[in-house]
Homo-oligomer: 465 residues x 2
């Protein structure tokens, strides 16, 4: 009895004929395409497509469309919600080969890149040219610009520079049927008809595949002032935020809150030096990007002195060197070690109106202490953006407990009109909770848009909605 | 023969029965609803609806929808493109009664208003509460917040604070069939599914009627530094812009360029004092909102001194008082007197990449001088946003000449990948030129969205598309 090879599906035959074998790998050829940082298990894709150009991607999607073939767009796979994880039998489109930094235009304040460019590479190229690309997040070394756009990535600098959405001037996307939609605007002001790019920003690959981007650049800071500050409670942090924002007139470029538990745990997990001698309920890491370092350092100090004199803050340490500033930031970034030492964790990324973050944290803490007195929960976040992160440590792994812990957090967030996903998107992991932040009418409109742009439902099926 | 009164259309009967006569005026009851600042002539509407609440508006639109009745949303009627002008037999929805400032939340950095609130009233209420609503434009005393959102209004402060779009956190709209879509987000970060509000911002009433808005607030400036600067040419202005932005680290809150012709004409028309002794090719009006007035004034001066020493600017006058600053700004705002003295004018509001504004202005000027040597053309604009305004004075009034002058400007803008409408929108007036800035694929997608959200085509028909 002779054994025949499994039949190659017609869509793969068509793709190989049109594009060549190197652009169309077998689905098991590259295991790293099977999951993202969330660890969510997907299925085995039919193939992995690696276009070298918008034109190639357009032809690929047209063929998939003709064959009713589902497609999952992938960037750097640093997503935390499973938004780029393939389902069984789907086709992965990886943008990794479309990684050119096409043009940095300092006079116009723009950088134009292909979607597969690694964020850090773009940042560095811009810095060398004398400008700041303000999109920035922990995954900068592996995430791709297209993924940043598709998920509207946030980060630590949003308080000053905005989300990725606010930094995108122009976009090129390929629609489900292969149509190339070029919206490569380079101007801050353009009201010539509907601004279509916003449909695609933050839509997690449901409406089109991002292929090229025009980002807006910022003046390159000539210096950074950094301090870590101790406070009594969240109300004091809020007062300090208002004071700092007004005194520095919007130049605050990070304002990271850490409750005592988080700070102590991070210092321990990372074997770090405590930044201040005493022990305080709340800490804030603040910094300011500036343009005249000497004068600006004095303004920053004056702002802190006023806050101490007014009794709004209890203590403060100003970084005297880059090494100091890095040491302060290593506490905030120490979340990586915390997640390692206290695995398995449940990590929340929620937002509520800034005024309510303190109460929200307190209510979540009370819920958790009531029902899981043995669990440790750590609180920190980006106050200016209303963004609270909660890490619940060493959680039980049964589905029922996990769901109840999620309910304990998301229920509070819903009460405050908050968001169950401030930065990370919905993907697969947060789909069950979308209704906590969005109304039935909103979700119905999302379906209408999906229907209008991708009536066959081929782009990233099963995600978000 | 007895004369009977004209029959009242069934849609009006239904509206009056549901809502009362005071909410449903006859179409000729209020002549000011017939045109906007563009002066474009519309037709006589069937009725003018004046809802007092979202619920009333929802019921009105549901009735209009059931009767296939076209509807034109109106704000403060300060639009310059005819976007709110009714067609004959359409129904006007005026938001003027929905003008409440619902809530100013200083801690969360938000103000919540109804769409009919006059912008200046909202600005003043926020200022009194200690925060800045950065949406600002010349029509502030009559334009409405909902109109600002529907047109994504720009203005002089965009270089620092962004367009209206960038300052909207949440929105409530009523869809064509009366569905109320609440997206009243209050957080800077919210990635829980698609961000639907951007569909409606800048869509000029084609997809829904804006009823309530959550705006983001900024720290209230404690002082403003203002200067007027003389330069050799556009290249020098660009160099100076880069220097100022880097030295003041993004705090430049206006950067208005005026070519010599504009400045001289505005000074003459407004009987103003020339701000500098000499006569220079190009002028820039620059200001900075700040938080520590004394220190910040020194930073501002240091920035100017460096620019003079480096030879980037030829002369500069720093405002020593509020009166000085107002005198400088009166030159830029003197456009009103210019438009009066040189009527009829053709006014352009275009944008091109910042690097190309100088060349674009030069090419437009050359086109005009070649074909209409007798016409005076004045150039000024918001450099940081790529936004160039051109006023062509005392233009002939025949359709053919007007179209040829428009072609002389828009043709150049198209060559630079620019926008035929940077701030003012498309409305009726700029519809013929939309294809100069947007591709067939983009316009097709706008039609798809219109079809998805308003399949009967009842909202603001005939505008934009």
């Amino acid at each position: 009895m002779s054994q025949s090879a499994p039949a190659v599906p017609p869509v793969i035959v068509a793709l190989r004929a049109a594009l060549g074998a190197d652009e169309v790998l077998a689905g098991d050829a590259s295991p790293r395409h099977l999951k993202d940082w969330s660890g969510v298990a997907g299925g085995l894709p039919l193939a992995i497509l690696r276009p070298r150009s918008t034109d190639e991607l357009s032809r690929m999607l047209a063929i998939c469309h003709a064959h009713d073939q589902a497609v999952v767009p992938q960037g750097g796979l640093s997503g935390l919600c499973g938004g780029a994880v393939p389902g069984a039998g789907e086709v992965v489109v990886s943008l990794e080969r479309m990684n050119r930094i096409e043009r940095i235009d300092i006079d116009s304040g723009t950088v134009t890149v292909e979607a597969g460019a690694i964020l850090q590479n773009v940042q560095e190229a811009c810095r060398e040219a004398g400008a700041l690309l303000a999109v920035d997040l922990g995954a900068r070394g592996s995430c791709q610009a297209g993924g940043n756009v598709a998920t509207n990535a946030g980060g630590n600098r949003v308080i000053r520079y905005g989300n990725t959405r606010d930094l995108v001037l122009g976009l090129e996307v390929v629609l489900a049927d292969g149509t190339v939609l070029s919206m490569m605007n380079q101007m801050v002001k353009n009201n010539a008809g509907m601004d279509l790019k916003h449909l695609f920003i933050g839509s997690e690959g449901l409406l089109g595949v991002v292929t090229r981007i025009v980002f807006k650049l910022q003046p390159l800071p000539r210096g950074v002032s950094t301090a870590i500050v101790a406070l009594d409670d969240y109300a004091a942090a809020l007062r300090f935020l208002r004071h700092a924002q007004q005194s520095l007139s919007g130049q605050v470029s990070a304002f990271e809150i850490m409750w005592r538990d988080y700070l102590q745990t991070a210092v321990e997990a990372g074997r770090l030096r405590a930044p201040l001698a005493g022990d305080y309920p709340v800490y804030v890491l603040i910094d300011m990007h500036c343009g005249q370092p000497d004068t600006d350092a004095r303004r920053f100090e004056a702002m802190l002195e006023q806050a101490i004199e007014a009794g709004w803050i209890l203590d403060a340490a100003i970084a005297q060197s880059v090494a100091d500033a890095e040491a302060f930031w290593s506490i905030r970034d120490g979340v990586a070690e915390v997640l390692r030492d206290y695995a398995p964790t449940l990590n929340f990324d929620v937002s509520v109106p800034v005024a309510h973050i303190g109460d929200c944290a307190q209510r979540v803490r009370a819920n958790l202490e009531r029902d899981w007195p043995q669990l440790k929960a750590l609180f920190f976040g980006h106050v200016g953006d209303g963004n609270l992160h909660v890490v619940v440590c060493k959680v039980p792994q049964d589905h029922d407990s996990l769901e109840r812990i999620e309910e304990a957090v998301y229920g509070v967030v819903r009460d405050y009109g908050g968001s169950i996903s401030a930065e990370h998107g919905i993907g697969l992991l947060k789909k069950p909770w979308l209704g906590y932040s969005r109304s039935a009418a909103e979700i119905a409109l999302m379906h209408s848009l999906k229907q209008a742009l991708d009536p066959k439902g081929l782009l990233n099926p099963g995600k978000v909605l």
